[in-house]
Symmetry: C2
Subunit: 270 residues, 2 copies
């Protein structure tokens, strides 16, 4: 059961886990140093706890202790109570979902470990936007993708915004982060995966027409430049989502990465 | 050719079209009153101009007049030049894309007019989030949907955020707004459209398995509640995107509306 601790000073060091949640650079270094991440809202916090992440603390306001009684009962950690203005001055934004939690990160499994039992995998190369990462996780999990593998520089799925947009799917789908961008695609090939590189290039095979083998990995590139030429070269096949010729003539010549990921994951699961 | 007019006072009435661009309620009344909308960034402004929207004015900063010379040359309207701090104090945010334009709205075609030549249509019921509206337009346009029909209360595709997220696709795909939520589905039926209601209900037919007739309309519901029972009842068929049973057991039980729209538009174009 959480111990309810009123705090009035925004500078209280016990609230340090929650400072400036929109400051990506600060959060990167702070979260790495302390091995923590922040989840927002009862539903997502419950999923994080359910996935085995120990709770460091909760941050909420006195008026939420009633609605969140079940959550508070089930968590063995301090719950700091602050008023809404203090909450905003600490975090840097208006928290609408009642509660924040600071949780401990867990060691990620290796690429080989997540591949061991997977048949359908999404590979993300250097996706930089946390909203996109969260949306890809939600979509991949909902459609039944077995695992996600991230390139070394791909944005952090446990950054608050990614966790929130994923609706907690970051806790529902196994994932690993490559350590070697240049060589680690070899681990997928060694595990028998066909590497399918998704590209806007309309001259390659439409994804719906490509035979999907027993084990297949869908490669998604970064928002701006798409997949690197190295990853494109390493792919077994380049695949596309057919676009409207008229739209392309009108300058609407691409889907955003999350729309493309949704269509491609759906095609991969057919 | 635009006339370049330096302005230093953020309260200058000539800049009134650009005030508080993130204040949705203010913008709704201001834009309705003056019949205007705001586009952001050279590419999107060009598309708005290309779609025939007269330019009321441009707002940019002196350092952008060089990079935007082509745009400024081609527009016959005042271009107000302000420094970055003034730009932010007027608009309420940091404008990264160099220029804003205030443009005149044009009368929308009627529902019957946009249906006349369309075969594949997306119907949006009460989508409230401008980001989602913009993403649906981008996706629908890119995949070759012929037209979009909005319910009377659906969010405005010409709100700045929707225009931006759509990458200008709001100017590339014909659309109309219903005047009668209760009865206007009859116009689609009268025009020979099969009405397909997309729902998260996993007991209905997967969209991929439904025969798509000569004319088909995909009905998308609002973010929170989905389609109203009235629209569901009026549909010819309820269709779903199959979700992973394991994900649903883990509480990942839905796609967001833009991911669902992407998959469904792709299926509709098969």
């Amino acid at each position: 059961m959480a111990s309810l601790i009123p705090v009035s000073d925004p500078a209280d060091p016990r609230l340090a886990d929650y400072v400036r949640l929109r400051d990506v650079n600060l959060r990167k270094s702070l979260e790495a140093e302390h091995g923590l991440f922040v989840a927002e809202g009862e539903k997502v916090i419950r999923r994080a706890v359910g996935a085995g992440h120990p709770v460091r603390s909760l941050l909420t306001s006195p008026r939420w202790t009633g609605p969140l009684a079940d959550l508070l009962d089930g968590v063995d950690a301090p719950a700091y109570l602050v008023d809404d203005a203090t909450m905003e001055s600490i975090t840097g934004f208006q928290v609408h979902r009642g509660a924040l939690a600071s949780l401990e990160r867990l060691p990620l499994p290796s690429v080989d470990a997540v591949l061991a039992t997977a048949r359908r995998v999404v590979l993300c190369e250097d996706i930089v936007d946390h909203t996109n990462v969260g949306a890809i996780y939600r979509c991949a999990a909902a459609l039944g993708i077995d695992a996600i593998v991230l390139s070394p520089r791909c944005a952090d799925p446990l950054y608050r915004r990614a966790v929130k947009v994923s609706m907690g799917a970051v806790f529902a789908i196994p994932y690993a982060r490559m350590t070697n961008w240049h060589d680690d695609l070899g681990k997928l090939r060694a595990a028998g995966f066909t590497l399918l590189a998704l590209t806007p290039d309309q001259t390659v095979t439409p994804l719906d027409e490509v035979p999907i083998g027993d084990r297949a990995a869908l490669m998604l590139g970064s928002e701006g430049d798409g997949l690197s030429s190295h990853w494109l070269d390493e792919a077994d096949e380049r695949v596309c989502i057919p676009m409207s010729a008229q739209a392309m003539a009108n300058g609407v010549d691409s889907l955003n990465v999350t729309a493309a990921a949704a269509i491609a994951c759906h095609a991969l699961m057919r």
